[in-house]
Point group: C2
Chain length 498, copies 2
Amino acid sequence: MTTQELWKKYEEQRFKISAYDLLLSTTYYDADTIAPVKGRDYRNERMAYISGELFDIETDPEFIKLREELYRRDDLTFTQKQILKWELKDLESFRYIPKDVFVEYSELTMKANVVWKQAKNADDYKMFEPYLLKIIDMNKEMLKYRPGELKGYDVYLSDYEPGMTIEKYDRFFDLIREKLVPLIKKVSAASKIDTAFAYQFYPADVQRKMMYKILDYMKFDLESGLMGETEHPFTNSLSKHDNRITTHYYENSLLSSIFSVVHEAGHATYNYQVSDELAETYVFDNMSSGMHESQSRLMENYLARNSAFWDNLYPQMQELFPEQLKDISQQQFINAANAAECSLIRTDADELTYPLHILIRYEIEKGIFDGSIDVNDLENIWNNKYEEYLGIRPQKASEGILQDVHWSGGSFGYFPTYALGSGYAAQFVHAMRKDLDIEKCMHDNEFIKIKEWLKEHIHKYGGLYLPEEQIRIATGEDFDPNYYIEYLTEKYTKLYNL
Amino acid sequence: MTTQELWKKYEEQRFKISAYDLLLSTTYYDADTIAPVKGRDYRNERMAYISGELFDIETDPEFIKLREELYRRDDLTFTQKQILKWELKDLESFRYIPKDVFVEYSELTMKANVVWKQAKNADDYKMFEPYLLKIIDMNKEMLKYRPGELKGYDVYLSDYEPGMTIEKYDRFFDLIREKLVPLIKKVSAASKIDTAFAYQFYPADVQRKMMYKILDYMKFDLESGLMGETEHPFTNSLSKHDNRITTHYYENSLLSSIFSVVHEAGHATYNYQVSDELAETYVFDNMSSGMHESQSRLMENYLARNSAFWDNLYPQMQELFPEQLKDISQQQFINAANAAECSLIRTDADELTYPLHILIRYEIEKGIFDGSIDVNDLENIWNNKYEEYLGIRPQKASEGILQDVHWSGGSFGYFPTYALGSGYAAQFVHAMRKDLDIEKCMHDNEFIKIKEWLKEHIHKYGGLYLPEEQIRIATGEDFDPNYYIEYLTEKYTKLYNL
């Protein structure tokens, strides 16, 4: 068969997979946003079944052979070669797992997720502990189905961020520890920024109106996306023209929903701006977690926490909340949106202390896999690290080790990408400033120019490149976390008059 | 293999089908309610593909053989036998259609639906006509894949309402024509009921609050169902504990959404109350269209258009709309909700004139299939019939032949079940009155007693029985449309002082 014929057969299989993916993703979205609670068991059983069907299609030996043969052809285009490279790489993460183990693990994490919620509500880590230990066991056990050079935690780190290893992360987090811990100490000692106004009553339906103004300002295409409501905000791009973000309204907080909407819109914009040629290929949505997080953090922290973002929007927000904001200037609002303070909950953390929350999780995960940590003492270890790095000790499991969903789903190696993403974002912004006056674009209501820069230098490529390659393409340099440290140091030194 | 073993294999296949069904239904619901418009083509192609996969599973020769063999076993329980009977009967409607014809027809109706919407917006029947004619051709053509005793239109009538034929429908509609046309003439000549108050400004978000009060009054379980918003309201029961209704808010009308919500809740309640034993079987959702419509019409017309339904709700509604309703008594509201007047749009029609809209469609469909109608003159024929039966002639295609979606989807034989359902409902209510004081239940806020009666006599059986059998089980009599005629005659004679 000619390469072209073989490629056509490959594309037919990919179409099939994309059909299963779309229906599963739609059903996940539905389940997370609106589906009635009593239908859960019926739904979960059937979603698990269809996931198994999809697993069979993806690991079908004929289809694997087809891809491997195709990958060996020397008349592939560069793009075709890259697409296959990443697809075959990701296949490694599950192709050798026996189906019964795959199903057992899926069922375990599905059940663990339910128990995690119950345990969190009950503030009882002991309830969740047996499930977590079993998940850890299985994650260690399943490493044996992962041939290749990487071992242990490195395997999972590389699943979420290809090219990253313990060694590289250690260097990154050493810098964080060395530079940010003293900076945070200084900020903690400085006089506080007033944020009380942001915690008055802000009705959800008025907040909702504000969110659509923000999306409008960001030129978020509501014919190619939508905004729903969930307990925990997320983004899912079902296709190039179906990018779904969600948010959660807290009526006692003005800031929470705003920055989560901008964050999720950052994720959605990445997929929305993948080039048409790649939109129906494997690289439409295989970007690394760190790269994806860089785009959400860039919009959330580097753009929306910049005063210029609000030159158009703040007066509109004052109109919507005339009582609450009448005496609050744009500068006061921005200062509150940037205020830093050590706290217990990762998702509520400010830009400065956030990476320490990640550092803690990274150290624990690393210790779990290298055996240096006693997994039977995890809650205590968690609490000790919070005391050590942030100076506060969780008093409840729900504000401590039970706060995050990730481990209940078996995600180890994911957390570190959150901090890495902020690091990438600093370097991207630094590069963008060479081409664009970011503040002027935002002030002039030309957010689209910023999006076009991101499209041209990053988004259009989808997941065609390794993160380290993508960073060189966009910035002309290797990844350098010092941009991130410098940005935070400069910003917080100024904000707190250090 | 023992019958029990064979049944187990059968159930495994049914589980598989139910998984595909659930994901497709969820995606349909999503597409109809919230999915972004630009993602449509991508989504439709993939939904069509998965529908094809499901078609393959359902028509798999091995699975057909399994069911046929099982059906021949003499040690099946009565319930098992019935379940297989209906599944094999419905299979007849598509098992002999070659897959390419099935796919061609699916694509045609999908495309026709898009063109129908455009044509309706443009008020241009000629735009839609070629698609309609092609659909009619294919529907006639596809009759050759339908072995069995029934011929022509009877085949499709029986698909939607097993046991019904042209002969039986003719008798039903003769009675409608004979009895209701003169009654409607008298009502038209009587003095009008004041309905102007119902067409003031009623904000959508306040209407929405009222709908949840109505659902609460009806003990609609929002943990086993939900209410969404669409252009055209519908109900879809994804499982016993996932019953979805939708509505549409018109801010210039108080009545539209109220009665559509009650109507859809009637549908949803039917599935919700199917017995647990049948909930995961074929008969959970194979009720005839007429039977299903009887349950929605019963709630909409026989209950919600009864003043007692409002004894608890009307004061709440007055609180929500203090300006609009301050001078309107409950009796005035009920009179307006029952007012009858000849009009052009089926879905806006009142209870009395509604069956004439159906009669018109029945006569046209019958004429299409027996060749007595020139299909190239359909718009004119439609308009003539409206003039003949309702005394008004559509001036625009959107208010005439383009008003309904059904034909664009290839549904012929469906419309008549709407009138039949109202007929069934009259007989059910007549039987219910022997056991229950309906008005007292509603006045005493004990709607649940009415639901329990419906569950016990109808809902719990799902689609286990033929409509005619189900009617005998619930009422002890054969279907008798005179209950319907008597109900309408008595109600409207009184309301209009005839």
